[in-house]
């Protein structure tokens, strides 16, 4: 294992922020795994830390394939992490909206550039990503459909052995992310979503670590044996059923991420914040599995509180043909 600083930035009042990379094996740049780009991505950093620990042992035991190189960058923004802030300390910009970066630009553009120069040549890239809504996800692997026609990227979604592989159609806002730019540079890029962001779930962390190891085995980068994981169902992001609030107040959930629900099952209730009576209930409009569950106690109108994967096998093609599905079904009381 080689430990090195790939980029360093100075602050006026703090010790320099040194982005540390851990490299295993040698030869062609085979797979790069990037953890936290934001200050609250604590589980994402912890997953990478576990991977560093595991790969160190695997390397010592001769389990790395000759001529293959793996790089892990657990945390590229510990300045923000150490002060409990999601985005950049000084100007609140998001490093994951600055790629491919610019070495003569603003601070976060320089960080993105410094990071990207070290990782853009890898054949496979895995980013431990987080979602802007607070809630619990089923662990899944996602790729952006940049239209660059990488059939191998699609097919590789199943190599992680996670239950779901999601294909996202990028919008302009996505074009400055690491995942998008990795793909533009010719890398097969994936974003892995563990269950949490600022909380380290023990089981979900292990699930994520195993899925990366499974991917490295499938790609012939490490020699090891691991149980094959789940069958991966690949779906388009827009084929999920988003359950959105039409009332605001206190949220009481009756379903959790991972639970199977039937059409008509009660998912949650919203009650009046001062008087306690029920304002409305959300019931599932379909048979499916809860993929995402919002976890804050107060909700405003228009909040996605649940995302449900339909149990009917629509697959990527069927989902595309069916278009977006957003359902608001309320039983007023």
């Amino acid at each position: 294992m080689l430990k090195e600083t790939i980029y360093s930035i100075k602050s006026p009042y703090r010790q320099s922020m040194d982005i540390t990379a851990y490299t295993f094996g040698g030869g062609e740049p085979s797979c790069c795994i990037v953890g936290a780009l934001r200050g609250n991505e604590i589980q994402q950093m912890a997953i990478c830390a576990q991977l560093v620990n595991t790969l160190k042992r695997l390397e010592e035991n001769g389990c790395l394939v000759d001529g293959k190189r793996i790089m892990i960058i657990p945390c590229a923004n510990y300045y923000s992490m150490n002060i409990g802030k999601r985005f950049w300390t000084m100007d609140n910009t998001d490093i994951n909206r600055m790629f491919p970066g610019y070495d003569q630009g603003e601070t976060t553009q320089r960080i993105a550039d410094g990071l990207f120069k070290s990782i853009c040549d890898y054949k496979y890239g895995v980013q431990m990503a987080s979602f802007y809504l607070e809630g619990e996800f089923l662990p899944h692997i996602k790729m952006m459909d940049t239209g660059s026609g990488k059939q191998e990227t699609y097919e590789s979604l199943t190599d992680f052995g996670l239950p779901y592989g999601i294909i996202r159609t990028p919008i302009p806002y996505d074009t400055a992310t690491l995942n998008y730019n990795w793909q533009v540079w010719g890398c097969h890029a994936f974003s892995m979503f563990a269950a949490y962001t600022d909380h380290i779930g023990r089981q979900s962390t292990q699930t994520a670590v195993n899925s990366v190891l499974r991917f490295l085995i499938a790609k012939g980068i490490i020699k090891w044996t691991l149980h094959p994981g789940s069958h991966t169902r690949i779906i388009k992001e827009e084929s999920m059923c988003n359950m959105q609030t039409t009332f605001a107040g206190i949220l009481k959930k009756h379903a959790k991420a991972g639970e199977d629900v039937n059409e008509g099952d009660l998912l949650c209730e919203i009650s009046h914040p001062l008087e306690g009576h029920t304002l409305g209930r959300i019931v599932s409009p379909i048979n499916g599995t809860v993929f995402f569950a919002y976890n804050k106690q107060l909700v405003m109108e228009h909040t996605d509180v649940f995302k449900i994967v339909p149990s009917v096998e629509v697959g990527a093609t069927g989902a595309a043909a069916g278009g977006a599905r957003r359902v608001q079904l309320w039983m007023d009381v």
Binding site: I9, K10, M90, D91, T107, I171, P172, T175, P273, T303
Partner: protein
């Protein structure tokens, strides 16, 4: 007349409300509609004074005005009210979610309804005031793609500078892009600095907006034009970023003409008193952007200089 543009329920006993003030007189089939929008970023306040001045003036001198002016002072009311640049609760830049979505989050639904409300207008002026770090000379920014259709209107706004900048895919999420796509000629004005009101700049822009209304046949009152803007493309603009970290002490003033290699500031180390970096102008020109907030990291933008000699 005050009208709601979009409302949605917040969790505890309050509605999120975006409002506009519609001022109209002698509206007929051929009269025009102009929208003044601001407050997308909650820390940008220069537009607040522009809106207030314009509303007062048009209401007081309604006999000299015909058509419709819609004034939207706060597209991000929770942000302005809580000194937050982004959209509170989402921690996102509201000017990166347009055109929004009727079935999206509250922020996306708000963006959708803003676009829908402005659609059909002839012109929209989207007023920004930089951020808390940088002070800007009054300027209109238009992308290269839209410059042909917008430049004639940009020149009417009494600013010092019109910057025709290169297009970037990420900017396709802005309000201006969404409106220009829908046929509303939308001009982005940048001026002043975040969290402050620069009265002179605001008055200058109000005069420019009155000139625009006059050119559109909507205003017959007083006109007071003081500026003839320089028009420039990206290649004439030089960026000056810090390499060192420390505290920036400007030596040039905002709006100065500087020579190539002139010292425009120093970055000092408060612990030792040493100069960490002497910042020099990369070219001869006009300092139209100057850093206002002293603390800098490597990469912090210190100034932008409009090069003096090259052709625009």
């Amino acid at each position: 007349m005050i009208k709601p543009v979009y409302t949605a329920a917040l969790p505890v006993m309050e509605n999120f409300v975006i409002q506009k003030n519609r001022i109209e007189n002698n509206v007929g089939e051929n009269t025009k509609r102009v929208c003044i929008v601001t407050g997308t970023h909650g820390d940008e306040l220069e537009g607040q004074y522009v809106c207030a001045r314009l509303a007062k003036l048009l209401n007081e001198e309604k006999d000299k005005f015909s058509g419709t002016v819609d004034i939207y002072p706060a597209l991000n009311p929770l942000g302005i009210d809580s000194v937050t640049r982004g959209f509170p609760m989402f921690d996102l830049d509201m000017n990166r979610i347009f055109p929004g979505s009727p079935t999206g989050s509250l922020a996306e639904a708000a963006a959708h309804n803003i676009v829908r409300d402005i659609e059909g207008a002839d012109i929209c002026i989207d007023i920004h005031s930089s951020n808390i770090y940088l002070r800007e000379i009054p300027q209109v920014r238009v992308s290269e793609q839209t410059a042909d259709g917008l430049l004639q209107y940009a020149l009417m706004l009494n600013t010092d500078f019109v910057w025709i900048h290169a297009a970037a895919t990420v900017l396709e999420s802005t309000l201006a892009h969404a409106l220009n796509l829908r046929g509303v000629k939308t001009l982005v004005v940048e001026m002043g600095v975040g969290m402050r009101i620069t009265e002179g700049y605001c008055t200058q822009l109000v005069d420019g907006i009155l000139n625009l209304l006059y050119k559109l046949g909507m205003w017959s009152g007083r006109l007071r034009l003081t500026r003839s803007p320089i028009v420039s493309k990206d290649r004439n603009v030089s960026f000056v970023n810090s390499d060192a970290a420390g505290v920036f002490i400007p030596h040039a003033a905002h709006g100065d003409y500087v020579g190539a290699n002139d010292c425009i500031g120093t970055i000092i180390d408060p612990l030792t008193g040493n100069i960490a970096e002497t910042v020099v102008a990369p070219c001869e020109g006009f300092v139209f952007t100057l850093r206002e907030y002293p603390v800098v990291f490597g990469g912090s933008l210190l100034a932008r200089i409009l090069e003096y000699k090259k052709d625009a």
